[in-house]
């Protein structure tokens, strides 16, 4: 019983750390990107300052905003929070992973997206509708690709429980699995699309030609905007941690000793920093795609995940 309590406490601590660290990852990403592009870099703490500023501001609401518009930031934040609570960050075998498995995780993102899109339509502006329409199109292609990649992994580990799957990858050691290679590529492409990064979307611009995600949340301000921004930072971190857990799980704590936990935290920090550098390089060398190139991009991801599934069944079993 005592052990179970420790486990739950650790799970809570992990979830809180997850939420608290997400802006830091965004800050680091921004900093590396600035360095890479020869610009003056803001401090890594900048996202925290932005959030604090937004939380303090007075709210402005558009005339036509309904109750739904005001509820959406909380729903989005709640969904992403739940998703963060079930992803193993620095330790496996935590009981919180039983709340939701990989499929539910994808569904949490879908829930957040559904309500964000509705908020985009609520004010009745042209941009809001445009963002909602485009986002749902991208999601319609990204979601099956993501689920297919996830299915490949879960069929290998014969579980959809994130913690158990991570533990399986960890104890399986280095096995050259072609399916994992394809799944990794597919998952990375989906992650790029879902977290609104270049080349699918560019979160830094407000032009009708380039906006996808940003167009839906144009009318938000104050604490609503803070929650949404924070949620999208957490989302980016979840995708990064997912990739780390599935493909490079080494270092994550398997027991709850202080030593193992410390190693787990350091390992995941190092891996996240490295992954951010990879993402920055990717974003710097690529240009934003035209909207109707995005389906091809995601179609390629879908094909990769299909191939991952097929190679798993054809080559790795039987």
């Amino acid at each position: 019983m005592d052990r179970e309590l420790t486990a739950w406490a650790l799970a809570l601590a992990q979830a809180l750390l997850f939420i608290a660290a997400a802006p830091l990852l965004a800050g680091w990403l921004q900093r590396v990107k600035c360095h890479m592009q020869n610009r003056d870099a803001p401090a890594v703490w900048q996202p925290y300052r932005n959030l604090a500023k937004l939380l303090r501001k007075q709210m402005l609401l558009a005339e036509n905003a309904s109750w739904l518009f005001r509820a959406v930031p909380y729903i989005v934040f709640g969904a992403v929070l739940l998703a963060a609570a079930v992803v193993p960050l620095f330790a496996v075998h935590l009981p919180s992973a039983a709340i939701a498995d990989m499929i539910v995780l994808v569904a949490f993102f879908a829930l957040a997206r559904f309500f964000t899109a509705l908020a985009g339509l609520d004010i009745g502006t042209a941009f809001g509708g445009m963002g909602a329409s485009r986002e749902m199109m991208v999601a319609a292609l990204a979601e099956p690709a993501m689920l297919m990649a996830v299915f490949t992994l879960s069929m290998t580990a014969s579980t959809t429980n994130l913690s158990v799957a991570t533990a399986y990858m960890l104890q399986a050691g280095l096995v050259l699995r072609p399916s994992f290679l394809f799944a990794l590529l597919a998952l990375a492409m989906v992650a790029v699309a879902e977290t609104s990064r270049v080349p699918v979307d560019n979160p830094a611009t407000h032009l009708e030609l380039t906006m996808l995600h940003e167009a839906m949340i144009l009318e938000y301000g104050g604490r609503h905007l803070a929650l949404i921004e924070w949620a999208s930072q957490i989302k980016l971190m979840i995708y990064s941690v997912l990739i780390i857990d599935f493909f490079f799980p080494w270092g994550i704590a398997t027991d709850f000793s202080a030593m193992a936990l410390a190693v787990g935290v350091i390992a995941v920090t190092a891996k996240l920093m490295l992954l951010a550098v990879v993402l920055v390089v990717w974003e710097t060398v690529l240009a934003k795609m035209r909207l109707f190139r995005v389906p091809q991009f995601l179609g390629f991801a879908l094909m990769l995940s299909l191939l991952a599934m097929l190679t798993h069944v054809v080559l790795e079993t039987g």
């Binding site: 050259l176 699995r177 072609p178 290679l181 394809f182 094909m303 054809v314 080559l315 079993t317 039987g318």
Partner: protein, 242 residues
């Protein structure tokens, strides 16, 4: 037998086999000429690597010879020939419009499933650790054929043909550790001759048609020639991409 139970070499063979399959898909979707040729070269390289790995794993030294043969032919010689040809015929920037790319890829996936289905019945005849790759080799072969069926440009046809041959060679390597050397040499020679013949052919095609679009070959038929006079005047027909 699950992959985790296999040795590292067998795992690597499986990995490279999967990558070769992947290059087949890339070729299916690649519309531009130069990348198509390069992808083909990559596939050859992957096959050569698989041969070397199989040679090491199974201690069949004669497989080194086939690996070297594959490398010289499919990674160096044939791609180089095709590359030269494309530059000479001034078509290195050509891209053909692929009809229904999504449908094509889905068809490719269906072919992979089908070859798995077919391979199931023969797979237990082979006792080798890498027997699962038989399905992949059949798939590469079928995908090469699909490529030939759906593409219009003659270069793509040649690539598809060569890719089919790669599939057969691959099947031989993974299922019985290679064909007898003499057969392999003969096939390799055939392929080379075929490549050269195709080259000569291209020149004549380009001369007489002004394009390498095999969709226009029906104009060769004398039976249902619609407008012989206009064609003789060398007027390109509408819808001709080149």
């Amino acid at each position: 037998m699950g992959i985790a139970a296999l040795g590292l070499y067998s795992q690597a063979i499986i990995l490279f086999a999967a990558l070769a399959l992947f290059t087949s898909f890339i070729m299916l979707a690649q519309a531009r000429m130069m990348p198509l040729i390069f992808t083909f070269a990559w596939q050859g390289l992957l096959l050569a690597v698989v041969s070397v790995l199989t040679a090491i794993a199974s201690k069949h030294p004669e497989l080194y010879v086939s690996a070297a043969l594959t490398f010289t032919l499919k990674v160096v010689l044939i791609p180089w020939l095709l590359y030269r040809l494309s530059i000479k015929l001034n078509m290195q920037y050509d891209a053909e419009a692929i009809e229904h790319p999504t449908l094509l890829l889905l068809g490719g996936v269906a072919l992979v499933i089908f070859s798995y289905f077919v391979a199931q019945s023969i797979i237990h005849l082979s006792g080798l650790a890498t027997r699962n790759t038989i399905a992949v080799s059949i798939a590469i072969e079928l995908l090469g054929m699909l490529l030939m069926c759906v593409r219009k440009s003659a270069v793509a046809q040649v690539i598809g043909f060569m890719s089919m041959e790669s599939g057969i060679f691959f099947a031989a390597v993974v299922s019985t550790y290679g064909m007898p050397l003499i057969v392999e040499l003969g096939v390799a020679f055939d392929i080379l001759v075929a490549a050269i013949l195709f080259g000569v052919f291209f020149f004549h095609l380009k001369d007489s048609f002004g394009s390498l679009n095999v969709g226009q070959f029906n104009r060769l038929s004398e039976a249902n020639q619609p407008m012989p006079l206009r064609d003789a005047a060398g007027e390109p027909s509408p819808g001709d991409p080149s």
